[in-house]
Symmetry: C2
Subunit: 197 residues, 2 copies
């Protein structure tokens, strides 16, 4: 990596922290200058606009979050156990970028505004749900999951209940909501999703 690329990466990582905690409007360039130790010109040499930087920062933060949430799934043979591990990952393996879920934050931040950020978040959601949908579809094919389970709707249920519980847990600063949802999802996966042998 050249020195320029290194600097660019450092700016993206600091911007990810800033925007994920304070949003696109709330994250100021002066805070980013302070965090990176760069002048405004030193930042804008690498990015054409605050929007371009925020979009790259989102991709960076989302990559970290997705990696933490999907970790170890491939090594688990049974697909229902994979889904349960995914739920555990979501709760236990908090992403390294502070501020909560980048997808939730950016979705709420951008749903009435910034179309570039909104589009990134929309595509992130699409890709994430597709990965869960694939796990479920494979489980149906392997006869681990009941045939009548709708793979897309089940992914939606898992994602929505966890993201909603994350909002509640972050607001209340306790894990109660996440643990309540985990307990429901685990029970649901065992009783309504897993195909009996």
């Amino acid at each position: 990596m050249t020195k320029g690329e290194e600097t660019r990466q450092r700016i993206v990582a600091e911007a990810a922290k800033l925007f994920n905690q304070h949003g696109f409007e709330g994250g100021s360039m002066s805070e980013l200058m302070e965090a990176t130790g760069l002048e405004k010109g030193g930042i804008y040499r690498h990015f054409s606009s605050k929007e371009e930087l925020a979009a790259e920062a989102f991709d960076y933060a989302w990559g970290m979050a997705l990696d933490a949430r999907m970790r170890d799934l491939d090594s688990i043979p049974d697909s229902v156990d994979r889904l349960k591990q995914f739920v555990r990952n979501f709760i236990d393996r908090r992403p390294s970028v502070p501020g909560g879920c980048p997808l939730l934050n950016t979705a709420i931040d951008a749903d009435d505004g910034n179309p570039v950020l909104r589009d990134r978040a929309r595509r992130a959601l699409q890709g994430w749900r597709q990965r869960l949908t694939d796990v479920i579809a494979e489980g149906i094919k392997r006869k681990e999951i009941k045939r009548d389970v709708d793979s897309r709707n089940l992914s939606t249920l898992i994602i929505s209940s966890l993201e909603g519980a994350l909002m509640m847990s972050r607001l209340e600063r306790t894990n109660d909501a996440l643990l309540a949802v985990q307990s429901y999802l685990e029970d649901y996966l065992e009783t309504a999703v897993r195909r009996p042998k």
Copy 2:
């Protein structure tokens, strides 16, 4: 209402629209001046700070949302049917303040920042969950709901899955996620919550 009170109310209503769509940082005073037709001094005559105004705007927007979501519940005798109507209200009766759920927006906006707004959102969540918890507890007492249902955890599941699905639906600009969660919740309420006669 005096003319001053009327003006104050008009500012709060416009601020609610602005902040609910663009957040506390993203909603600028110059936009509010334009929307209300008032000078900055005319606004700050009624509020000591942007924060105070935003807190009142949140209470206003949340009052509208809660009213839409809890509407008609008291006229439904059976408590499981009440919960199902609540889910329908959440999806069909969108609050009159544009920008999505004020609680979700403010929670995400303020969880790493503004403590006054965060506290308002926290209390709003608490009150809302308590109202659902009361419906469930009453249903257990009236033998309409199974005795082993945890009323607080069930409220958490309903709120988190609907709020998460709202985030997805607003991002994707389709109702798919909300309808998937509604279908799950209705099924769950009938099979796992309702006490068989």
